[in-house]
Symmetry: none
Subunit: 225 residues, 2 copies
DNA sequence: ACAATAAATTAATATTAAATTAACATCCAG
DNA sequence: CTGGATGTTAATTTAATATTAATTTATTGT
């Protein structure tokens, strides 16, 4: 059986490995590359069904690479999906209309990635609409920029609030006890008063809206969308 | 009864010794390893109940090791908890969804470590993650999310009710006497009145439906489907 | 190094959900 | 019928968290 071929392009080996592993496990025939230039050559050679292309890359970025590919007659109709770090300004990318077939934000959970990939490949036959990022829950954080996104809006948070939110967000739905929160946001030795966590939760709720963080009395707090 | 086996993996001998000592003292059967590769082999051999895995290790890091383990049919369902230095980017790790069951930051106090380990191991028997295969008329609990699932519906329970239900559910069909219930839900010293348990049972029956919890007069209560 | 500003923490009190008790009802074995 | 056991409902108490403001502690810019 000839599996569907995916060309995965990202300059970070970690990402390559992580995504590659998950796609391979799903039965796809995965080729990888860490540069845009190389990717174009590879594409010509192996004729992939789908190219996953990181937007931000040194030298030749995803957009250029995409345009290059669209220029080569032989492979110009290959499906291309952009990968971008959550929080990067994709409106610009979308505005450039570089000719991508989908747009996927990182980090992404394996299951979600796979279902997106399946969806794109399914679209190949019947021309469905282009998907722009269906999110899982509408609050996101960008650790690098230290920003929180709420429905597209960007919000800036002080350190402790950010860390607390990041923790809750690291596993939505999971209840984090006060003990665990203290341990992981404040650290072992530091002793802070009983109401400190409450106050930070308050601040978060103030900025995000009440319904995101739920209290389980006697147990802890959890994030839910 | 043979003790529960823990495989402890960290590249720093000091950490190994410190954590190992404390876990052994608690009665766990501890095996240690300083490399991810070796850990996978050891895991195959001894089939631990839980693997504590340092995220940052030379050669093969915790995440890779975790993925490896998840790949070996024989041990793929072993509980795995990540250990990481505080301040490392846990959201990223969690986001990678490498399949860990918990996330513990170092340094950690012995007592807290032990209680975390107990919690993880307890989860094994109790309710597991997201309700995938719900059976009709069945009740499940998810300790991590502190939720009860009844025919796919999510129900939120207060602490004592949750713990009581969890106890009954831990061995469906078994009759739990009032003494045992008090002992395990309330704890040794606490003295509460005669009707306290009844009232909690009432609340449970109210929310779940009468037929799930059966009274054995003069003996106790049991859960049955 | 200093003031200005923001963040984090504590303090004091209010609020609320949860747990318990109380008061009475019912059930059922003997 | 009767008495111990459990059921039920509402009232009460308690424990946990929420809230707001005041205070302390960091951070920043000059």
């Amino acid at each position: 059986m000839s599996n569907e071929k995916i060309l995965l392009v990202d300059d970070e080996p970690d990402i390559i490995e992580f995504l590659g592993y998950n796609l391979t496990k799903e039965g796809y025939d995965v080729t990888t590359s860490t540069s845009g230039k190389e990717a174009v050559e590879l594409a010509k050679k192996i004729k992939p069904d789908l190219i996953l292309l990181d937007v931000m890359m040194p030298e030749m970025d995803g957009i250029e690479t995409c345009q290059e590919i669209r220029n080569v007659a032989d492979i110009k109709n290959t499906l291309i999906a952009f990968l971008s770090a959550r929080g990067e300004d994709y409106s610009q990318v979308a505005g450039l209309d570089a000719g991508a077939d989908d747009y996927i934000t990182k980090p992404i959970k394996p299951r979600l990635l796979v279902s997106r990939v399946k969806a794109i490949l399914r679209r190949k036959s019947g021309g469905e609409e282009v998907g722009v990022d269906e999110q899982e829950g509408d609050i996101k954080i960008d650790r690098e920029k230290y920003l929180v996104y709420k429905e597209g809006e960007e919000l800036s948070f002080p350190k402790k609030e950010f860390e607390l939110l990041a923790l809750l967000l690291s596993k939505p739905g999971k209840v984090f006890t006060r003990e665990v929160i203290l341990e992981s946001v404040w650290g072992g030795e530091v002793v802070v008063g009983d109401r400190t966590i409450d106050v930070h939760i308050r601040k978060l709720r103030e900025k995000l809206g009440d319904h995101y963080i739920k209290t389980i009395k006697g147990v802890g707090y959890k994030f839910e969308s």
